[in-house]
Amino acid sequence: MIRRTAATSALALAALMGLAAMPAQAKTLVYCSEGSPENFNPMINTTGTTFDALRPIYNRLVEFKPGTTEVVGGLADRWEVSPDGKIFTFHLRHGVKWQSNKDFKPTRDFNADDVIFSFERQWKDSNPYHKVSGGGYDYFNDMSMPALLDSIDRVDDYTVRFVLKQPQTPFLANMAMDFASIQSKEYADALLKAGKPEQIDQVPIGTGPFELLQYQKDATIRYRAFAGYWGPKPKIDTLVFSITTDAAVRLAKLRANECQIAPFPNPADLPAIRADKNLTLLSQPGLNIGYLAFNNLKPPFTDVRVRRAINMAIDKAAILKAVYQGAGQPAKNLIPPSMWSYDDKIEDYKFDPAAAKKLLAEAGFPNAFETDLWAMPVQRPYNPDARRIAELMQADLAAVGIKAKIVSYEWGEYRKRVQNGEHQMALLGWTGDNGDPDNFFVPLAGCAAARIGGGSASKWCNQDFEALIQKAATIPGQADRAKLYEQAQVIMHDQAPFYLIAHSVVYLPMRANVVGYKMSPLGGHLFDQVDLK
């Protein structure tokens, strides 16, 4: 015991003197991730933190091309869509190897059975894995898959056919989302036989560029480049997620070169990061929107003049400066500028309190009226401080004679009440899932979402707008769809169902020697083509 204590003290001393030895290692990239994954299943989880940890392991039928929202081949190298837009036929890649672990060695390559298993697990009660690990397939349900899917058929070993109940062009982009990751049916069967099915979600087997080596909760996730990977070989041998929840500590680790990439910096640290010559700061407008929604079912917001007046009464530049601190881009459309079909010709309402006051008088409100202004109790990617924004808006509204009372509830309660349309004005926002404009317009401004209990906070239902977005969802061809979405944006601007605030800018600090990193507009982090100089 004494011997050990003495040895330990000597080691402590050595460490204090900076003598700590580093082992000779293969090329290792350390990513300071912001939290632990809930588990290793992409179907039952909804957080970006968990998806980041899973992406190195799994593939999907189609993938988002790195750095874009363009859909390219993944486990399916090509696909066809029937003329009526209802049948999607995927031709699967041959020779794709499954990873292995100490309890499981695959005997066959990836094939159609794995695809059918991965979707039926989420879709059908009769699948033995449907209830495993809690069985809440949030994204599968959120993307309306149960209502959309008619059947999934195995044509042969390498062909799978998805039949939809109605044509839906964005379906292809949905197939590139994380919930559509493919698990091994052979592994699932083996685990079921061994009586430990839940292990499929704890000890994952995938076809991706990295295989899981070790996971220590709240500490590290360690991956090794998968030698059998079908795609381009990763440039690094080992990928480590060093779980570091505090943003200030992540930055300290980055500065000390204990990690090479550290996401989600504090906005206040951005100038110092830019000034540090050892670091690089990447940035990209996020695929999101923060807005103030008017409840279009409740007077006075049923009057378009009131909605336009408020659009002129609030100083957007002041909000961006005070709250987003440079990490935001003023919004004039519901979709962000990086998304195809964004209409840049639209001119935002000018900040003009006098004109706003005049318009309010025309609308029958020459004197003050009272309303409520709801602020979320939590920080969201598109809104760093809802309370502060509400206060700034309150002051601007007071200047044109609108007395807004700030209201807040616990987050779950807040969302529920907004869904039920209890608010008059509410701050909220959205982060895109699949890079398709449909994923913004339908849930936020479509008529189905405007019902009481529906997801839309504006409760706005405009038949002209609705006809355009419905048509755009069913026709093929991006250019034709983009035209329809551009027309829809003109209507939305004119009708002003929201006060659109900002698209937040996402920053990613990294060491200067990191090369080949491409920021994803969808917010995820990918490392297979990243290298260290």
Binding site: R4, A12, T46, Q216, K217, D246, V249, G412
Partner: protein, 334 residues
Amino acid sequence: MLVFLLRRIGLIIPTFIGVTLLSFMLIHLVPGDPIEVRAGEHGIAPERLAELRHQFGLDQPLWKQFVDYEVQLLHGDLGTSVSTHETVWNEFTTLFPATLELGLCAISFAVIVGLPLGVIAATRRGSGFDYGLMGLSVTGASMPIFWWGLMVILVFSVALGWTPVSGRISDLYYIEPWSGFMLIDCWFADDAGACTSAVSHLILPTIVLGTIPLATIARMTRSAMLEVLNEDYIRTARAKGLSVRRVVIVHALRNALIPVVTVIGLSVSALLGGAILTETIFSWPGVGHWLVESIQRRDYPVLQGGTLLVATLVILVNLGVDLTYGFLNPRIRR
């Protein structure tokens, strides 16, 4: 002694019931539930919310949920995490060694440094050393852990580069966890570089977590020593011609230790509180960090089970302290 022990153990049962009831009530008073917290901007359809609530038993009346929970506990089942689907016991036993390792280092640091400082301050009462030390100990005891942790990281890790920023070991080492205690695991892995890394990762969190107990122990030792040093038997011992060193260490310190042991015992619960912040700052994968995360996720089973296990620990340490008293001062046993 046996009656004393049984009486103390008997008191544990109502304490346990109180802890489970209190943790259950407090958690359910916090708005939101695990299902609603999971839903993002997509929201959740009312029928699906009802279905998931039913699945987790959250649609039952509160009293029934509590009774079911107690019955489950009596069967030795702490439940399963709503978010990770791992059992609470598995998660606790995976993470607890990290907290214990850090806690033991912190308390040892506090005692090894605090005790002698308190004794020296008492023997040199009124000197510059005494005033300086007491000033520092007030500062130490009142320092916010979060600020202190970030300060030492900025100075020693970022500016000077002497110590690592956070974590338990450099990410370049791959040590298979066996006992969960990094110092033991690296010892058995027979990797000197890994052990050096593990020790260097322990230095800053140990200092940060040990600061408050250190300050308290130093102050308590000083005042207990001052009281004892004025006793008649100390004067007698000196009059016998014993050396100052012998009088202080053998005669005074043992008697002065009784209140100090209490403070050390109480420090354990303070340490667990401090561990929550320290573990967050230093990305230390322990139970403090785990409990904080579970509050955010409204992971009821983890919060209830974790609180119960931590409370058990505090109760056991307090029992240990009571028994040590009995050993140090036989009058208490009556």
